[in-house]
């Protein structure tokens, strides 16, 4: 249990509600909202609404990260995904698709087959997940603390410096490539 969630539940605790109940209930509400918005991303007809639904889904996933001792990643998720990527999607939609036309069929003819395949894969995953006895950490406070922001920064600069540089190279190549591909040729 991390700092932000604990503080939040302390505030709630002053109003007489049990702490664990509030933490669990907020997790399940966030997870349910994330699944509902994710379903909206793949099922809605207007693709502009899909992008807005994607933003809300990613926001809920950022909330879920708070329950996993990952405050920095939650903030990074909001900044990178909701702030940058979804904005990019909205721009691309406005530059290409005719969003007012609601009569466009958004799904192809393989809907039934895809639904069956996806349901099979999902049920297989859930069967594996629920059937496995996952190793749980010993009930010690030190194990549950999780890495802090300083641990992540130190790991990025020491142990994982090579993948970090490689990622920056990929990002640079993506930036240059995007400019080259998107340039209007005269």
């Amino acid at each position: 249990m991390n700092g932000l969630i604990r503080q939040l539940s302390d505030i709630v605790n002053n109003y007489g509600l049990p702490q664990d109940f509030v933490v669990q209930a907020s997790f399940y509400v966030l997870a349910g909202l994330a699944c509902a918005f994710a379903f909206g991303v793949v099922a809605m007809r207007n693709i502009f609404h899909c992008a807005v639904s994607l933003a809300l889904c990613l926001f809920c996933v950022a909330g879920v990260y708070l329950f996993l001792n990952a405050e920095f990643l939650a903030i990074a998720q909001v900044i990178i995904y909701v702030g940058a990527i979804v904005t990019l999607f909205l721009f691309a939609i406005m530059l290409t698709a005719n969003i007012k036309d609601r009569s466009i069929r958004q799904a192809n003819r393989q809907v039934l087959v895809s639904a069956c395949v996806t349901a099979a894969i999902l049920s297989f995953f859930i069967y594996i997940i629920t059937g496995n006895a996952w190793k749980t950490p010993a009930p010690g406070a030190a194990v549950l603390a999780g890495p802090g922001l300083d641990d992540i920064g130190r790991a990025l600069m020491s142990a994982y410096a090579l993948p970090f540089e490689f990622i920056s190279l990929i990002l640079l190549a993506a930036l240059v490539g995007a400019i080259v591909i998107g340039k209007v040729k005269k």
């Binding site: 699944c35 994607l54 990019l88 691309a92 290409t96 958004q106 895809s114 996806t118």
Partner: protein
């Protein structure tokens, strides 16, 4: 205390939803949005295993950050390709983008 399996099930549901979207969407932008959902499911799994198995080690969170960077790069390249294709062929549907098909 929320059990580990519930986080993993959330990741699996997000992955399945993204897979369904990537299989059924007709527009390239819709497929890209579904792929973002799949990458988010991978991130949830990475951070979950980092919390429940890693303890103070930060490997899972570091690689979740890398996944975010890859997702940003792929979204940029995918969207700029969509815009370039739209500019040249005036279509947003993937079944019409078949000039490279023999």
């Amino acid at each position: 205390m929320i059990p580990q399996s519930h986080f993993l099930i959330l990741g699996a549901v997000l992955f399945a939803t993204g897979l369904y979207g990537a299989l059924t969407r007709r527009t390239a932008i819709g497929i890209l949005m579904s792929i973002e959902l799949i990458l988010n499911a991978a991130n949830i799994n990475l951070i979950t295993f980092n919390k429940f198995l890693g303890g103070p080690d930060s490997l899972g969170q570091v690689f979740a950050l890398f996944v975010m960077a890859i997702a940003a790069a792929s979204a940029v390249i995918g969207l700029v390709l969509v815009i370039a294709v739209y500019r040249n062929m005036k279509t947003i549907f993937t079944e019409n983008m078949n000039i490279m098909k023999w």
